[in-house]
Symmetry: C2
Subunit: 461 residues, 2 copies
């Protein structure tokens, strides 16, 4: 698990963070003397945001190395990501050096515009090179467009899925792949609206984020329009909607000239809109919003949220063999804090509930058992709040089964700060085993009861 990152700007830095925070060792080559500082800033953002997407801990961070020679970065790497400036001759030069230093590595390019056939010029036929085009911030957005040879795409896809991304294989090579073509179309139209004084940059942003931006974050374009078409289906919609748009379309074809006047106008409007915040402030605001929305989609099991859940399912679970057992190990996400700046009291309840779920799963009463119509319901909890907990802190919950008799399950939880073991809160939780059909209490299945009794005995000892 060693990745080489060639070129360390915002995109390269995002790649560093994705790999490093998923347990890969990462070596970076970038001749820019500022590269280490720049990557450090991206990495700080990523460390503050990415772990919050998960209800469990990410693997231990890999080792980050900055090297002075490209060949030192790629030697031993199974994956090489190139994110150097968009000049074809520069990219060719980089690929030849990579090929010479490590002919077996998979080379992926972050290019937003070039086609694989252009990138491959001058390389050996055996060299595996694909476009792997990510989206900023790379450490939070799942999308990566893959373009190239089927085998190489498949190899890249497996690695990128493993670091929580969503590889989209593009069927044929084309300038700017898929997403950037759509972005360019909107960008051109938006420039016209500013140029013609119809709307300011801020008004255009509001027109997007108060309306169709919300639709697109979860369903995209076609599925949204499919709904608009109703039971008549998508073809019906295209037949209806298509002709009505032809006339405006014919007016939207020109490209606005980027005169100094237009550039200045956009710059001034953008300053008026967002100038009160620094770029770092905006990045943090963006990341908080993305974390919150991604977590919302994750709860719904939809779109990018499903990607995170799939990734989480592949992460290591806490070791529950000890006594007491570690039932929860996680980072406190930003949306769990209240206006006092510390974790909202309800989220302690979330920890106890998650800890109880872990215990249930451990005794054989997990989701499958619940799906079969039996479960434990919490009847009473008693929580003591001992110290404050803040967003971004790593915590773990250790749990002991205190009662395990018949329908009764008592669990005692202790929530600890991972950094120093300080006890943040405790909970005594009393659950009853119930039938989900009759909605009244009943004994658990014998094999579950046996495991509950065994745990109670072990935890008493």
């Amino acid at each position: 698990m060693q990745a080489a990152i060639i070129g360390g700007g915002v995109i390269g830095g995002g790649w560093v963070a994705r790999f490093l925070l998923n347990g890969w060792d990462v070596s970076v080559f970038d001749p820019d003397p500022q590269a280490e500082r720049k990557i450090g800033e991206v990495l700080a953002n990523a460390r503050a945001a990415l772990p919050m997407l998960y209800e469990t801990e990410l693997p231990a961070e890999g080792t980050l190395r900055f090297v002075d020679r490209l060949e030192d970065a790629v030697a031993g790497a199974s994956y090489v990501q190139e994110s150097v400036p968009e000049r074809l001759s520069l990219k060719h030069d980089v690929y030849r050096q990579i090929e010479a230093a490590n002919p077996d590595a998979l080379i992926c390019s972050s290019t937003s515009g070039f086609k694989p056939s252009e990138l491959r010029e001058g390389l050996a036929a055996s060299t595996r090179l694909v476009v792997a085009h990510p989206f900023n911030p790379v450490y939070l957005l799942p999308l990566v467009e893959l373009v190239g040879d089927a085998d190489a795409m498949e190899a890249a896809s497996g690695i990128l899925t493993g670091i929580g991304m969503y590889p989209l294989k593009v069927r044929a090579e084309i300038d700017a792949h898929i997403a950037d073509r759509l972005l360019e179309a909107v960008w051109r139209e938006a420039l016209w609206l500013v140029n013609d004084g119809i709307a300011t940059t801020e008004e255009i942003d509001e027109a997007i984020r108060m309306g169709f931006g919300l639709r697109w974050a979860q369903m995209g374009l076609f599925e949204t329009y499919r709904i608009a078409g109703g039971e008549g289906g998508m073809a019906h919609f295209v037949r209806q909607f298509g002709p009505a748009l032809e006339w405006p379309w014919t007016k939207l074809m020109d490209v606005p000239e980027l005169t100094e006047e237009l550039v200045t106008k956009i710059g001034e409007q953008s300053d008026a809109q967002s100038g009160a915040l620094s770029i770092r402030d905006l990045e943090r605001l963006r990341d908080r919003n993305l974390v919150a929305m991604l977590r919302a989609l994750k709860r719904e099991g939809s779109a990018a949220g499903a990607v995170i859940s799939d990734h989480e399912a592949a992460l290591p679970v806490p070791d529950m063999s000890g006594a007491p057992m570690v039932t929860v190990a996680r980072v406190i996400p930003s949306d769990w804090t209240d206006y006092n700046g510390h974790m909202n009291e309800s989220r302690y309840g979330q920890i106890w509930s998650d800890a109880a779920d872990a215990v249930m799963a451990h005794v054989g009463a997990g989701p499958d058992y619940v799906g079969g119509g039996l479960s434990y319901f919490t009847v009473e909890t008693k929580t003591r709040f001992l110290a404050e907990t803040h967003a971004g802190e790593r915590i773990r919950c250790v749990s002991r089964v205190t009662t395990g008799e018949g329908k009764k399950l008592g669990i005692s939880h202790e929530m600890q700060r991972a950094s120093d073991g300080a006890v943040l809160a405790t909970c005594d939780q009393f659950l009853l085993h119930v039938s989900l059909e009759t909605r009244s209490s009943c004994p658990p299945k014998p094999e579950v009861l046996a495991r509950v009794e065994a745990l109670a005995a072990a935890h008493r000892a």
Copy 2:
């Protein structure tokens, strides 16, 4: 507060829901014999989704009336929303009838394409008519584009803000206003990608929702690019990014012909992508996702979430003059339930925490007091879970102050189902007054203590 809705399709139905659920009486005219059924379906969706955006109850629903004649709908209405099909002669005919029946009403058109100057042809100069173009689902998305005379836009803006929307005043009239111009540009480009076999409808949707859709839902286009430009600012970004895109742009100008082959291709791809779900299923999926994302943005105070918070701040608060006091009155949102299908145990903690906040605000220890460095922290809670609670249910929490002495504040909460008063859970909560500076306990300000003592005495009685 009487609105007339002329034309009751998906958009008209969405308007009905927005007004009705915000306490307006609504009269509907639509000659379609299916109108009542269709609006009923939209209304059912809206009732299931819109109240979940708020941590407090919406006003009591207004009265809905279906009438057989347009003049009966608009008589007495202060606001008229026209959503008839996009034929200019039909719209002119409707406006003349409205004008004759109610010359004082504000007439707003849902048109996605026509300009106010076209719509106004043949109307009296005194008639107030503006474009008020909403986005589907109208009951969840805040955006409404206003185009027209400044005074009429201002009048419409006040009313639409009052029903929780975000009116965007467009500076100059133009075909398709703002958002639909951007949508058309993307739509055209997407049709090309399908036509040329670069991507399927599903792949294009993934390219949007796994990447820039998430960016746009919270920051839009320009603010996102401002970040990409870094400290150099937006003008710097345009100068850098603009020229690089000119070459691809020149390839994207043609309009794809909507041949039967292309229409069929899109229809088949969309069926493969989403055909397993009915349109109703898709609507519910969309609404759940939108509710979850909007609630996430609301917690962050960003974008559309800030609109909801502003609206919520204008909603009536529970009456806290009784003993015991009603401290929480709300609907349980869908993201509060767990895999058992009932409200997660942590969310009971949310109710107790919100109820305590309401008590604190009531005794003069609200956000301003906390901002001044003093607060009550919860030290211990004891919760009893008595019955299940489900998403969509209306609940209220009644609270009694049981202890109010010095630094100590004890509150006893009872959470009830609003429909039948059944007690769902109880909580005994013990709080200590603390200094946020020293992080240790201290006495409250005398005026706060006096109110706490008075409540404790009143609630004992």
